[in-house]
Point group: C3
């Protein structure tokens, strides 16, 4: 798209070359050439002089930058408007119930439900109004899929699992596979039956190929509004709060208790039975081996409060030098002791 086309879509005014091509969206600091960005917070105004973005949504009061400008009343709103307009143009939904869909006995379908080719829905499940079941989805028996929820192609939901309203499950998601539990008897791992389930609240998104295991007994729970990225593993009996963010490759081991508004950076891990307080933030690649306090930001493995983690990293960088300094101290001290006593002193 060009800056001119984008301005037309959102009703903005171009300052600069309307033919400037735009290929991505990014924050004003991290933007690269070809990106569109936006100035929502006046504190970021200095970045207008340095951004590598090709185009910037700016308030009407801004006239100058190193990139093409699109002047609009509210830059953030303009970006959403743009993306939503494009989304509306692309929007597509399969139609009705495909004749190849296999729908078990006593399945209840709400109004305006779509079920695409080769999807299978087990006995006794209920599908809410306006839900979209894409091709090749598998839904087991006695499941519930909430209103307006979208199951992308090749999602698997096993028996008894419940998914709330307005959720999006991306391709390859698996809900309700068995939890990983064994009892060792004479060197052999005997499977502990996993007879619980998985309950997802409303407005949850689960990324491609992520897995959420069923509980041993009771339910593995994900709270309303929590967003989960791709290739994330949620163990059995985990309780995930509301409005959490889990970036890609995160792993949460069994029975961890995660309160509301927790943010997990990419590949962060939580050991089983650990509790993470509300609003805590785990940096990318961190690993929590014990409880994390509410609001705390942690980094590293074992996960440490981030200030302490950074001091440790700074200290580590000085360590090779410190080792040399210790050696020099020992030599100087030995010499001094020798001078005073005639021979080097031996403390050993």
């Amino acid at each position: 798209m060009t800056v001119g086309e984008i301005a037309a879509l959102v009703g903005g005014t171009v300052v600069g070359d309307p033919q400037t091509p735009v290929a991505g969206v990014s924050g004003i600091r991290e933007a690269r050439r070809g990106d569109l960005t936006f100035l929502a917070d006046p504190r970021y105004q200095p970045f207008l002089a340095t951004t590598k973005a090709s185009a910037v949504f700016v308030p009407l009061t801004v006239h100058e930058a190193v990139a093409a400008l699109i002047q609009v009343a509210e830059p953030r709103t303009a970006l959403f408007t743009l993306l939503k307009k494009i989304q509306a143009e692309q929007a597509w939904r399969p139609n009705g119930i495909h004749p190849t869909a296999i729908i078990g006995q006593d399945v209840t379908l709400g109004n305006d439900v779509v079920i695409d080719a080769y999807a299978c829905i087990g006995e006794g499940s209920t599908i809410g109004d306006g839900a979209t079941i894409h091709a090749q989805v598998y839904i087991g028996r006695q499941c519930h899929v909430g209103a307006q929820t979208v199951l992308c192609p090749q999602v698997t939901i096993r028996d008894y699992v419940s998914v709330g309203a307005r959720c999006i499950l991306h391709p390859g998601v698996v809900l309700g596979s068995d939890g990983f539990g064994y009892a060792e008897l004479g060197g052999v791992h005997v499977k502990i039956p996993q007879v619980g389930t998985v309950v997802l609240g409303d407005d949850i998104e689960v990324g491609a190929n992520s897995c959420i295991d069923r509980a041993t007994l009771g339910a593995t729970v994900v709270g309303d509004g929590t967003k989960i990225d791709n290739l994330v593993q949620i163990g059995h009996n985990v309780q995930l709060g509301r409005n959490c963010i889990l970036c890609g490759n995160v792993g949460i081991a069994g029975s961890a208790l995660i309160h509301d508004n927790v943010v997990f950076g990419g590949a962060a891990s939580v050991i089983g039975h650990v509790e993470i307080g509300a609003g805590a933030r785990m940096a990318a690649l961190s690993g929590a081996t014990k409880d994390i306090k509410p609001g705390q930001t942690v980094s590293g493995f074992p996960a440490t409060e981030v200030g302490r983690f950074r001091r440790k990293e700074v200290a580590l960088r000085q360590l090779p030098d410190a080792l040399s300094r210790i050696k020099i101290l020992e030599q100087r001290l030995a010499q001094l002791e020798g001078n005073l006593h005639g021979t080097p002193k031996d403390d050993s």
Copy 2:
């Protein structure tokens, strides 16, 4: 479920409120409110006074705890009885061969085999007695699936792969995709044909969306009784022993040799061509860059014997303080040297 219902299922006696609700199962130390736990080992008896569990299976000799009690002859057996009873109530298996299943030429089906909707089985494969092939499974040509083995929906098994008896492969498992092998020729990566296979023994469980690659030549092997959690990656030509445990997100690179009874904590990794001795334990998030001795427990990256790892961690915590102490030592020593010689001494 309530404590009363559970007691009725296992033939136990309630001490406390039979209306107490139970929603999960956990160990006595890590249990939370709503959990059911059990006292199997008398050494854990002190935890009866502190456990947060709502209910405990206890031997007939125990009468008091901070939770509701269910007195039974053998607590561990009672737990299994409970879970198995619930499992039996939930148990369900598709029926016979679904008309939409596509079964290639010369496929041999044992007695009581179930093949559900839209499953595909390639030419010349054999399916053992009592095996269950769920909906949308793909099995390639010349494969073998052992007796009583369960392939959950959307499992993919590629040509020539062999799976033993009584295995469970959870949704999205991929067996026999190509190993990751290339030869660099003039800056281009030329694919090395991967013409080996994958051989799984008996009583193996593989978690959702885990992958086991075929060997370059020969076979990637998983030994009897080994249990693999979700999102685990096993590279080509890996030899995995018997009764190993691999928690979620583990990665084992190509040609690693893992002996029997090795335990991998979550997200543990093994570099290619490394050997892990029998009974070794790799802590969560550890990464083995060289051979690990039998029975050794390791942690961290690069993986270190756990005692040494802990001493290193303790020492690390003292490092910022140690740096200050070095500085003070230098000042004191310089002053002392100055006092003795009239001017600060310079060793440089």
Copy 3:
């Protein structure tokens, strides 16, 4: 296979027992019993005396080793010849268009395209000459699949995604799921529409269950010849160069810019918006939190130039000892000060 059979396949001469069994292929240093290896570079000749391999492809000039030898004109070529011959024997491709394949309106199919059972192809997509779409694959609307490309069973490609020629996508791969982007409004995460796409170049391989997200706007791009292993996560708007290697469990967060010929060891991670220079190498389990220079090799988390990383590791091993030495220095110095002044000096 036996050494004799292999020699016959490649036209080599056996020195040693032709009945020696061979089960795998490996490098000469890391080979184990049962492996076949090869001597291509004369510098590796000393390993002929120590290799654990059971058989070695050697040039005609080599006559002695601890393993069976297969003399050939060019050892590396012989290995490829062997693997390709076995591959040709195993080679199999489904036939034509399976009657259960669902092909949308205005789909363009090239010559010699194969589409297997229960595959779905959305409206307006184009499939190039000689492409193979295996069973249960899902291709969305307006997609492009290049000539000779192979989509293994249960691959999912969502709308508008483009895949080049001669690519191989292994089972469970997901291309074009939504990028992970939200704007926080009043404590709630509002989804940012992801209206971009994914563009794969030519000669790309993507391992089982790996995921590549669509861009917010524009395209997530993978360059020609790049090879991606299993369970790899590529975030939205990532730009991956040509001929890169990404081993298993790698995670690249959104908008990272990866230049050509970069190598990622297993489970290496890159934080969002970071730039990795051409030819850089990230060791297994490393995590890049800032830009990496072209050609640099980094290790650890946060990723550090490998020489510095090793010095840090060596220093760390000396740390517990260094702490003792500091204590001793303090004692000796205090004693010295006491001797000189009558009482221990206090610096605090």
